[in-house]
Each structure stands twice: as structure tokens, then as C-alpha cells.
Subunit: 214 residues, 4 copies
Amino acid sequence: MPRFTEAQKESRRQEILAAAQRCFARNGFHNTTIADIVRESGVSQGTFYLYFETKDDVIAALADDRSQGDALIDAIARAEADPVVGLTVLLDLHGRTLADAQRSDERRVVIQGWAEALRNELIRRRLLANTSRVQQEIAHLIERGRRTGQFRSDAEPLGVARVLIALFHGLTLRAAWDGAFDAALTAKTIEEMVRGALQPRLGAADSAGREDTR
Amino acid sequence: MPRFTEAQKESRRQEILAAAQRCFARNGFHNTTIADIVRESGVSQGTFYLYFETKDDVIAALADDRSQGDALIDAIARAEADPVVGLTVLLDLHGRTLADAQRSDERRVVIQGWAEALRNELIRRRLLANTSRVQQEIAHLIERGRRTGQFRSDAEPLGVARVLIALFHGLTLRAAWDGAFDAALTAKTIEEMVRGALQPRLGAADSAGREDTR
Amino acid sequence: MPRFTEAQKESRRQEILAAAQRCFARNGFHNTTIADIVRESGVSQGTFYLYFETKDDVIAALADDRSQGDALIDAIARAEADPVVGLTVLLDLHGRTLADAQRSDERRVVIQGWAEALRNELIRRRLLANTSRVQQEIAHLIERGRRTGQFRSDAEPLGVARVLIALFHGLTLRAAWDGAFDAALTAKTIEEMVRGALQPRLGAADSAGREDTR
Amino acid sequence: MPRFTEAQKESRRQEILAAAQRCFARNGFHNTTIADIVRESGVSQGTFYLYFETKDDVIAALADDRSQGDALIDAIARAEADPVVGLTVLLDLHGRTLADAQRSDERRVVIQGWAEALRNELIRRRLLANTSRVQQEIAHLIERGRRTGQFRSDAEPLGVARVLIALFHGLTLRAAWDGAFDAALTAKTIEEMVRGALQPRLGAADSAGREDTR
DNA sequence: TATGAATGAGACTTCATTCAT
DNA sequence: AATGAATGAAGTCTCATTCAT
């Protein structure tokens, strides 16, 4: 009979991860020592190694943050069938996430994960998988919008999805460097751009239904 | 009287930097040792320290790649006064840079620089300065386009510039992770988006001049 | 009142020892961890310490293998009074023990015990005591043979006993390194040697016949 | 141009090895730390690793002591063609080596090497190779003696060689445990044994005179 | 009796940097 | 200017042992 339940062990693991994230956000993966993590989390060196095999284990666990991707996908799902609403919600959610100072540590660690992915195949695979998942969902959203006529018929679902994700990454980087940048202004520009790429053309061809894609 | 001219010293310095870049691209800043760099460049440990004070010196020298920013600014300048041409050239240059397999090492190192900027104030300042410089130029370009009526009068120069740069960063990341992504499709989508944000509105107010912003 | 009888405790102790012997034979004393022993024996870390105070305890318990010495002494005893039979049985028993693949683990652990005896006084004392015991018995055997006239009158009981034991040790080592060595040939040679040292000289009353091989 | 010659480097290496041998003789391979060796040899931790890759490197370098085997082979060679002299010299040399208190450290380390050979394939191969080399030489010596008629015609060269080596090993062990044992008495007994095994039988053409001690 | 999570001292090894030559 | 041997602080990880349950 195990002294601790699986849940208790997992919760301890999460505590250590949270401590590690704070350390990593502050000093970077490679300037953080196990001693730092251990000090921050309050466990002993030995205990750390009961929950993680190596330091790289911890890095891998934090470099890949599925939570934000999950949140984006959930947001699309919650928008039910309406692609315009879905897109709006998506952009809005990302904007608010960027503006959230509480998630600063997360951003700082995620960016280090990007660099780590260049030399750690496991992390690279996970990050790409994560990215692809979100990209797929956005592409489907565009696809649906095209079918309903809400989006321009020659919009490229994959292209748009990919560009949006690149934008998300680039903005995450900017927010991490310089939290004070004007998020509202940025959001407005993105909205214009997206509308430009997706809004059905006036006049002919693309049927009609105009006035405001979002 | 120095035995070597300044030029000779500088050339040796560049050789070491190039060797370091190869090492950093391969193994990352923190998994590259001075011994690695020295081996790759063919000089001795002692000699390395004649050209650089510390390892961080080398990192700082490579983390901040001014060359690409300079190239973008030059491109704008070469487009003379025409904002539409300038924007086209800008997007085109960036697209071709991304597709250039030869610049893979550069990209890999630059991305590591982004992470490094989070905990190295010198690097952070330089990267931000570099980014701002390009952002300024793009904003001026937009500004000029507004004045000439080629761009929509309510386009936000700063917002557009910032979004474009985020896009550039995000695409650089994607190219580093996965060089095989479809650059042409991406370029087409970006073009649509940019046109959407900048193209003067039909019909009303914004005067006219339609058909193709670029 | 103890819940378990002494016998039950002892049996558990023996199980752990057997597991430890397997581990030690495989990886050596110092590359075997308590965790290894515990895994091999199926008890828990805590339980291990109910039966042994320290790891050195287990090493000491296994480094000194009295069983083989006991067997040799028993063999001598079983030969009753006849020294020639006793010696024959002794050599035969040792030869068969060496050839017994089942006792490989035992041999491997015993040899490690020899090394351990060099820095662990307790083990050293036990090994020497063990060795002396057997040496004494062999010396007595020789002594008896001298008195009965079956062995040469100038045979040195102690010298022969000591040399035989050295031979036993050396052959044990060889068998542990290279189990495939030709035991029969070796046995034949030993027999010749022993006969040479102990057989009464031909011709006269154990005197003449010299010649000198060296 | 190297600052130090190869010879200087080798001499430094030997100094460290000598220090390591002292430590190993005192505390055993596994209870000796790199810090101990470094302290004993007077170099720094870092310097140690300029001369050896790992601690196991040092162990492997010392576990296999070729010098004694070489000395035995040299001794045989110096005896020129005479097998009887060769054997005498061999036994004598080994006896004097055993009695040499100065070589105590060497013995103590060699014995640890025996144990190490059980779990380190490199060491095992080297020790066996070393042993085989000496065994071969002794076997050849016996062979020659048979041809000259100095040794009994049914002497088994390989068997005798193997038994002698086992004896050497066993006596080395005994000397390491208990340096005070009576070397002269032991030598005398060995001489008798060897004579018994090799001396041509009296009487006839190496045939008769049986009797059978056993 | 039995468990197994927790501990922390200490082991091995690496590496940026120095400096005598 | 150039070399490369030397340094030692610091990092990661292991493991014998304890103890609350």
C-alpha cells in the first residue's frame, strides 16, 4: 500500500515544477542550478531526484507549455459553429493572455523552450506537435468560414493559420522583452489585417454579405 | 608599434566569431565550451582570450545580429520614396532570407539570443534597439504612404510596424524549427493581410486609387 | 512476545543475503547499492535495515565464506585416520568445488572479500582465522602421515599446508576469471607435486636417492 | 611547439599513478576519492583530469601490473638455456619479491585488481593476457627440460605452469594479508613439490619406481 | 513488523579563465 | 602575439541511512 497517493505525488511534482519555473524565468535554464530549484521549492536535493530524473527532465516538462494551446483550442470550440465569432474570440484571448502580467514567468520560460528546441529533439517534437494542433484548429475554422461565405473564398486556411501562429509567437516574444508595449493598438492592427485577408471582397464574385467580418 | 594591423586583428576576431556561431548553432550557447570554439576556430585557448574578454562577450557579439535589420532598412531606403514599393521589397526580402538555407546557423543563434535577452540586460537593450530601429523605419514608411494616399488614412504606422516585426520574428522561429514550411503560401497570405490593413477603403472617404496596394 | 520466531527471522535474513550475493557477484561490493539488494530480494529499504545494521554488515557476512573451509575440514574428518585417503579426498573435493559452475557467485564474492580484507580489519581477521583453521587441519594430517610412515619423514606439515592453501586460493582465482580452464590436467599436476613432496623416498629409509633437481 | 615534452608529461602521469597507488593500497579503490589522490600527488583536481579521463582509468592502469610478470620472464631469459636453472631462478625471484616489504603497496593494489577484473572486462582481459604470457614462458621452460631429460618425460608443461602461477597468486594473497609468514619454509616446500613433479624418476628410463602415495 | 519517502553529505567531473613561457 | 598547462569553484547526481506512519 503506497504511503502517498498518486495525486499527492503529482501535486508535489507540480510544486517543484512551479518553483523551477520561477527560477528559470529569473535566471534562465542554464543559469539555474538544481540547488536553486531545491531552495525555491523547499525540498531537499535528494527529494528532487525522486520526482525528476535529471535537470533536463524539468526543462522538458516546462519548455513545452500545452496550456496556452489548449486554451486557444477551447476558445474556438466554445465559439460553437460561428467562424467569425471563433476568430474574434481567438484573437481576443491571445491579446488578453499577452497583457496578463501574471503569465510573465510562463512567457519567459516558453521562449527559452524555443531556443532549447533547437538542440533537444524531444522538446522540438513536442513544440511542433503543439503548434500543429493549434494550427489545424485555426485552419479548420477558416475552412468553415469559407464554406459559410463569411470568409473570402480564396482565403488559404493553412496559410492564414500559419501566419496567425507566427504572429502569436512574435508577439509573445515582444511581450516578454517589453511588457509595456501598447496591446490595444496592436490588437486593432491585427484585426484590420485579418479582416483584410478574410473579409469577402466587395462588389462581385465572392458573393456578398459584407459589412464587418467581425 | 603593433605587429599586426587593426584589420588583421579584426579579421582574426571574425574568424573566431564565425567558428563560435557554428558551435552555438549546433549545441547552443550553454552547451558550447570555450574548448569547442577554440577547436573549431583553430586558435589556442590563450589566443581566444586575446580577442574576447569572456565567453559572454562572444555570446553578446552574436546574439545581436544587426545585419538583418540593416538589410531591411537598406531595402526600404533603396525603394526611394515609394512606400508601396518599399513594403513590397521589405516583405520580399524577408521571405527570401527565411528561405535561405545558408542562413540557418544565423537563425538558430539569433533565437538563442532572444532567450538570452531575458536575463542579460546588455543583450536585451541591443535587441530592443535593433528592433526599434527597424520598427521606426517601417512606421515612417507607413506614414509616408498615408500622406501620399497610397495607404489607408487610418492605418496606424506604429501598430502595423510592430505587427510586421512580430510576424518576422514568428516566421524566423518557424523556419528554424522546421525549414521545410511552405514559404510561398505564407508570403501570399501575408500580402493579403497587409493589403487588408493598408489598402485604402473602397467607395468612401479614403479617396480611391484601388487595385493592388503592391 | 515476538511475532516471528527466531527461525523465521533467520530465514528472511538468509534470503536477503542470497540476494546480496547475487548482486555482489554481478556488480561487486561497491557498485551494488542497497537499492539493488532490496530490489533483488523483494523486501523494502526499511525492512533491509531491520535485518542488517549497515551495508558493510552484509559485506562482512558474505566476504567470509566459512562453508568451504568447513567442507574441507569435514572431508578430512570423514577420512578417519588415514592421511593418504584424507589428502586424496581433500584435493578431490577442492577440484570438484572449483569445477562447480553453481558456485561461481560464491567464488566471485569470496575474491572480493580478499580485497576487502586489506582494509577491513574484521574481515581480515575472519579470513585469516578461517584459513588458519583449515591450515591446522591439513598440517595435522601431514603430521599423522609422517608418524605412520605414509609421508616422508622430513615433510614440513606447516609448509605443505600453507602451500596447499595458497594453491587453493590461486586456483579459485583462476576459476573465477576463466571458468573454462582444464581442471583435470590441473588436478593431475597437483597430485604429482604433492606426491613429490610427501611420498617417502625410494630405496633407503627415507634418506638417500637424492640427485637434486635443482 | 609543445611546452612540455612527451617524457615530461609521462613523468607527471607516473607521479599521479604512484600517489594513487599509495591511496589505493591504504583505502582500496572505492574508498579512495579523486580528492585523496589529488592531495597525495600535489596536483589540482583539474590537473588530474588532464592526465586521466576518469577514476576508472587510474584503476585500470594500476590493476594490471605487468612489471612482475615481465621480471619473471626476464629471469627465465637470463637463465639462458638451462631449464633447471631457469626454474630455480624463477622460484627464487618470486620468493624474494614476496618477502620484499617495499612492494607491499603493489601487492595490495594487485589483489584489488583481481576483484575488479570480475566486473571490468578491460581489466579482466589484461590480467588474463598477462597471466597467459608468463604461463607460456614457464610451459616452454618445462618443455625444454623434458627434451634435455632434466625434467620427467611425462611432466605436463601447461599443467605445471598453471599450477605454479596459481601458487604465485595464492602466495601473493597470503603475503598481503600477513606479511610475517615464514617465506623460507614455504620456499622449501615448493621446491620439494616442484622436484616431485619434475624430477626424473629413479631407476629406469623414467618409468618404474612407482609405489603410489595415494 | 514493515514501509518507502525523505535526507544531505559527498562523489565525480567540467570548464572558464589565468599566466609562465 | 601566442601557447596550452594549470587551476579550483561549482555543478549534477547518487546513495546509505532514518523515521513517521
